[in-house]
Amino acid sequence: MRWLLDIDRRIIFLLVLVLIVLATVLQDRIEFPIVSSSPVDGVYDAIDGLPAGSPVLLSMDYDPASQAELEPMNRAVLRHLFRKDLRITGMTHWPRGLNFVEQVVQSTAREFDDLSVEVRTFDSKKAATDHLALVKTKPDEAAKVKAQLATVNIGRERAEAPIQYEPRLYTLLDEVEKGLAAEPFEQGGKHHVLTVVERKPTKEYGKDYCYLGVRLGAAILIINMGQSLFDAFPADKYGTPTRELAGQGKVLEGVSKLGDFKYLMVVAAGISAEQWIIYGSQKYGFPMGVGCTAVMAPDLYPYLNSKQITGILGGAKGAWEYEAKIRVPDKATSRVPAQTMAHVLVILLVIFCNVAYLMVGRSKPPGAR
């Protein structure tokens, strides 16, 4: 029995890998109902309660090591902020996250573009699939087939007849634009082939959102922003002076320091969240919510209890709950089966090793140490 306790760790590595690969391959076939918890509701309700046009600061302080947990929740929060028509100011403390955080902001803003979509409807899936193949091989001929024009805005959950909005449209239209759509869009017994012909942005950089980029300094930067946003960030990431962005009708109108923001959402790995609480929210008096890695989440519960933050999105769980709240199942939701498999595996490993340990302990001869 002792050999059970001394298994080569590479066998355990292999077991973990095989189970997670299996769960990832089968992820589309497994679905779990997701119910949000009160820390997540705290963030959602605070953002949902803000009037349209309120200035909000979004501090996205993470790097590739924490991207897996934080990017899905960052994207979900951004979708919510854009949907509420809030004025979003994005920034980051971490140089290592500068570029992909920018990509998340820009790509989420694009989701709110009004898309003019040609919809070709077919009664059978085969006819639709054949047309899809024709689009790739003979696009001119495919264009001659009669189509209806519909305006779709996936960010606002709107789609005109003959199609209705569904969360599936998020990934489907993305694939359509990249020329990667493999299957038609099935809805209400009909099969539609979609072609995006025009894109009109509804979210304007400088008016609805801006991205300040990165500055070093951590707590010192927060104090600097609390005193004067223009001193802390003389220009945004693209070189536009922040005083210009504070003009009439612009994103920073009425904002010159931290206390002028109506809400701060911090999506952070590391100690950024605590620094924002101590040197930002507590000192300059504005409400804030935190999204953090699962490792950091337990440390933030005292601040939640003392109402220094409105809510916590903790790790992947916080991300998939927020995706459920905003009704857009994305990366975090798709990873639920693999995450569940991993948790169950670790629990079983702990139970199994303790049972084996007890049995080995009992099998020792009397007097043995």
Partner: protein, 270 residues
């Protein structure tokens, strides 16, 4: 000709090691071929231009598999990928320090006026230099004196300013946020009218905070009543560490799930 030097090992690689490297290489090779050749796979050209994204995915996969080879044992592929990553990270951050800190906060408001003096006199560059920034420039140069052994003591002045500010500014902020506010919500009246659970939770929180604080108070011996309370503190700490462990598992597994997701859906395009 310079070659990669590997620390000398006792004995040649075993059959198992060679087999592992062969399997890993073939996994990468055949997986990449599959990723390009199957129906929903990567395209070599997109809109008439070479698909650099697909090339990037291949490189990312190679780096990922090389780093994962560490799970079998430490090997040259892992070391090579690790050091390449360190180098790219260093370069990336050095560039960012220039673009995000030194250039906008020091070069543009001050040094540029000296470097492009003629353009400034012609009116091509607007504004006036901010001479207050001579102070952080001076402090920054003091910091860099660490590279000159004879003058490295000058960097202490810059560090003293930095550390002094941090120490001073933290005191009132930490008191307000982490002491007073936390105590305020611990020492609350028991809300009997809010139901049994609310009242029970208030007692649990008060008991937990006091017992944990007492456990860490080592100036008195943990005997008698103090010993009992500190023992209760230990139980609370065990629950706390257990919960933290549970969350740590969740966090670490999420990272692995994301990498596997990349390999299955990003690389192989299944």
């Amino acid at each position: 000709m310079a070659t990669l030097d590997v620390p000398e090992k006792k004995g040649a690689p075993s059959i198992g090691d060679i087999l592992f490297y062969v399997v890993l290489f073939n996994l990468f090779l055949w997986g990449s071929l599959f990723a390009f050749l199957h129906e929903d796979g990567h395209d070599l050209r997109v809109n008439g231009v070479f698909n650099y994204e697909a090339l990037g995915v291949l490189i990312a996969t190679g780096v990922t598999l090389a780093l994962y080879s560490f799970l079998y044992k430490d090997n040259p592929f892992f070391k090579a990928a690790e050091n390449l990553y360190v180098g790219v990270g260093l370069g990336y951050e050095l560039v960012l320090v220039w673009y995000s800190s030194i250039k906008p906060d020091l070069y543009k408001p001050l040094i540029r006026y000296a470097v492009r003096y003629e353009l400034w006199q012609e009116g091509a560059i607007k504004g006036q230099p901010d001479f207050w920034l001579l102070i952080p420039l001076f402090l920054g140069l003091l910091l860099l004196s660490r590279f000159i052994p004879r003058l490295s003591w000058l960097s202490r002045w810059a560090f003293a300013f930095y550390v002094g500010f941090g120490a001073g500014a933290s005191i009132p902020n930490v008191i307000a946020s982490n002491v007073l506010q936390q105590l305020k919500y611990t020492l609350v009246p028991i809300p009997f009218d809010a139901g049994f659970l609310a009242a029970f939770n208030t007692v649990v929180i008060l008991l937990g905070v006091v017992s944990v604080l007492l456990y860490f108070f080592f100036s008195i011996e943990h005997r008698g009543a103090v010993g009992i309370v500190s023992k209760v503190g230990v139980w609370f700490l065990m629950i706390c560490f257990g919960a933290s462990f549970g969350y740590t598992v969740m966090g670490r597994m999420a990272l692995l799930v994301q990498r596997v997701d990349f390999l299955i859906h990003g690389w192989l395009r299944l």
